[in-house]
Every structure is written in C-alpha cells, then in structure tokens.
Subunit: 206 residues, 3 copies
C-alpha cells in the first residue's frame, strides 16, 4: 500500500522539532549571558543540543533524498533546514569560543544581542507550525518581526564594535570580542535566512 | 486573458535596474576613496542605495516565487539576483565600517581596489542588457573582463595586506584595515560570482 | 547518432581528475608543514595545481550547462564540484598567506592539521571512483571517516587557538596565525562538504 499523507506531515513534524531545539539553545545562550558563572556547564549543554540539531537536519535531508514527491519544493526544504541548522551552529559557537578564549565577563551589548536572538528563535518557533496550514498573513507577520529584530541586532552590534575599538582594551581581547560579535551577528543573520526561506515557501504555496 | 510576454521581459528590466543601482554604488565608493572628506555623507547615500537594491532583489525573488514559467531557469535567476545583491552589500559595508571605525584616511591600495570594483560594476552594467538577446560572444567578453579585473584586485589586495603587516601600525589599526580589505576583496569576488551566474545562463540559453 | 554512454562516464572521469588533483595539493601542504624551507617553491606549485583545479571545475560546470540529461542530478554535480574546488582553494590560500605574512616557522598544530587534511583528501580520492558503481556501504564508510577526521581537525584547531592566545605572542603574529588556523579549519570543513554531497548522491541513486 502506498500512503502519501504520513510522509507529507513528517517534514512539518521535523521542522517543528528543529525549531523547538533551537528555542532551547537560544534561551540557554541568553541565560548564559545573564548568569555567566554557568558558562562551562551551559556550553556543554549547548554542545549536546547542537548534536541533537545535527541529527534532525540529517533526518530531514535523508528523507528528502529518499523520497520523490515532497509537500514543499526540495530546494526550499533544503534551504529551511540548513538555515535552522546554521542558527544553532552559531549560537553554540559563541559559548564554545567564550570557554576557549577564557572570557572573564560578558559585555552589556552581548547580553542584549543574545536577547534579540532568543526573541528571533521564539518567532521562528511560532511561525514554523503555521506552515502546515500555509496562512499567508500570519506567517508574513512573524517573518517581518524576525527581520525587524535582525535590524535591532545590527544596531546593537554596531554600537558594540564602536565601544570595543574605542575602549582601550588590549589588542588580544579586542580580537577575541571582535570574533564573538561576529558570531552573534551571523546568528541573527541566519535567523533572517530562516525567514527568507519561509517567505519563499509561502509565496509558492499560498 | 493570459499574457506571457510582459512577464518575460520583466526579469530583464529588474536585472537592469539592479545593475544601474550597483554602478551608482560603485561610483560612490570610488569617489569616497578619492575625496574622503565626504565619507559620512556618502555612507548615508550608500545606505539608501543598498535599501533600494534590497527592494529590487525582493521584487525579483517574489516574482519568481509567484510565477511558474520563467524566461531563465529559476536557480539562475536566484543566483544572479543574489550575486548582484551581495556586491552592493559589501560595497555598502566598506563605507559603513569606515565610519564606525573612525578611519582617518584611506590607503592608496584601497583607492585602487575601489577603482577595480567600479570598473567591474561598469562591465556588469554593460553585460546585463545583453541577456535579452543572449549574444554569446559579446556576453563572454564582458565576463572575461570581470574575471581579469578580479585578478587585478587580488594582486592589489595581496600588496595591501603585505604593507599593512609590515607597516608597523598599531595592532588595532591593523585589525580594522584587515577587515576593510577583506570586505573589498569580497566585493570583487562577488562581481566574479555575477559573471559566473551570467556565463551559466548563456551556456544554457545560447 | 545520439550516444548517451560517453557523456555519462565523462562526469565520473572529471570528478576523479579533480580528486587526484586535490590529493596532490594536500600532500604538498603536508610536506610544506614538515619541510618549511620549501614554502616559496611549494606555494608556487600549489598555485599551479589550483589553476588546474579551476579548469576541471569549469569543465564540469560547462558540460552540465550544455547537457540536458545528466547521470547525477545537476544540483548534486554542482555541489560536489564546488566542494572539491573549495577544498583546493583553501589549501592553496594557506601557503599563499604564509608567504605573504612572512611566517618564519610552523606550529606543531598546523603540521598535525595538515596531516588530517591530507588524510581527508585520501579518503575523497578513494570514494570518488566508487560513485561509478554506487556501492552504498563502501561509500558511506569513507564518508564517515572524512567526518571523523573533521572532528579530529576541530579538536586540534581548538587546542591551537587556545595556545595562540595564551602564548604571549605579539598581537600581529596572533592575528596572522588566527587567520591561518581559520583557513585550515575551513579546508577540513569543505572536505566534510564533499562527504555531504557524496552522501546525498548515494542516497538518491542507491
């Protein structure tokens, strides 16, 4: 017997699983920035969450490569799964690098940007389940909010970089923080890529 | 009534609009490097041009997602539109970063590389309108010139980086310029990506 | 007369040529790290190998754009050819940058990472010929080994970066090595991308 429906909803299940995993990671990043004493413990937890995310991504890609007919265009499945995976990778990279670089304390801007990323992840977590019914207006609202947050993150990052170079810190510390801000910026950018992938799907299917 | 033709030329119109926007940005970058006193004013203008570019890119992508039949392969439209958008983003990023980093003056190499980028943008602006008639020989000539200019830019960037590290500047200034040269290099690389996208289109359609 | 077979094997021939070119480059990188006195000579040789690689990649892409039916999905051909090209580019960038930055001697970690890259290239060189018969089990074994080596490279790179920032070197030297480690890391990542592309092909065709 050839059943099409179970396969069709499986992608949506996997994307939701991926988004739930992502919001956990983003909350943990925000908590770490607020309660920096737990950096080592949280970095370890984030590493496990990131592995879990890798497995979900792998499952989506494998399913896509095995099946001929997909409920969403293959290229869109690929784009969305990759973007979700990338956000997670960059969130995890931030805490890993903070441990490696023995960063003694966080900056206020890093805290604020982590909050922006957590709010973007929340929007992603809200919008992904809406792909099942493809409600154009609701989905676009969340995507616009993700983009607005990316602009807010950009503004914070510009502020942070100005302070970093004006602050008279020693060059090695400036180098480390320049890299950390770059990772945070890329995380917010990748959230925007998630929104772009979702917009593409909605425009094709609405 | 179903009219196919107006839709078919619309992509070419939008790509030309995108290329015209790009040449404006590239000219402004070159002018800024020659008359650095106008950096703040020109950075603001470039920000507006970049927003305009975002809208054109968005229009191309939205049209592609809404229409079933396209005059050029969808993946090629996507690749060309993204590459054009990327060049613009990196040109804008250079002036934005120069303002943020309070760069007091430009280096001769930065001037020369900006000229290379302006010349690449001119080639792009000449070659894009040729996509309408798909004249293989003419189009390839411009693409080869874009690649030749990328090699010239590469040579200048290598020189610039050698001088930067040999120059005995303070580490924070070296860090800032290393980043600026990286943005300039990526701008020339993205021009080459435009040429690669165009070559792909021509090979399929000629 | 319409002959399909010669065209079908041509892609496999080109991918094997690309993999053979890559293993030469990776061996040369490893040798350079062990016998650093030959850096200038080897950097020149690597530049020629990289040009040769560009031509093979160009040949694959041009063939793909000219032909309508391909033995492997076009997107997969594109992904595999690009990933192979990227590994080569980053290997070449390492030696080019070492010359530009006048690096006087190599670190033990750079040596070890170069060995990891050479072993990844060897796996790639073994697995590519297996695409002809699409033997799922054998191919996956090599892909898993490429990924395992990437994890080993990651561990070495983390160690290297910790020592770099703890080592009390002068900031400009730290900056140069931070960049070199980044290039080495990207080379191992791109080897993993080759494995991902190959896995995708096998899952679709096995």
């Amino acid at each position: 017997m050839f059943r099409l429906m179970p396969k069709e909803t499986a992608y949506f299940d996997l994307f939701e699983k991926s988004a739930k995993n992502l919001i956990q990671a983003a909350q943990l990043l925000e908590e770490t920035m607020k309660d920096y004493g737990r950096i080592q413990e949280n970095a370890n937890r984030l590493e496990r969450i990131e592995h879990e995310g890798d497995q979900i991504t792998h499952e989506i890609m494998a399913k896509m490569n095995r099946t001929f007919i997909t409920p969403i265009d293959r290229e869109d499945i690929h784009q969305l799964a990759s973007a979700l995976d990338d956000v997670l990778d960059f969130i995890e990279a931030v805490t890993e690098r903070m441990v490696l670089y023995k960063i003694p304390r966080v900056t206020p801007q890093a805290q604020q940007i982590a909050t922006v990323i957590r709010r973007q992840a929340e929007e992603i977590n809200k919008v992904i389940p809406r792909l099942r019914e493809m409600n154009h207006a609701t989905i676009m609202e969340h995507c616009i909010e993700i983009n607005r947050l990316e602009n807010e993150g950009d503004r914070l990052l510009r502020e942070a970089v100005v302070q970093l170079f004006d602050g008279g810190g020693n060059p090695l510390d400036v180098m480390k923080w320049r890299e950390l801000y770059d990772l945070l910026e890329t995380a917010t950018d990748k959230c925007e890529d998630v929104a772009v992938a979702i917009e593409g799907i909605v425009l094709k299917n609405a």
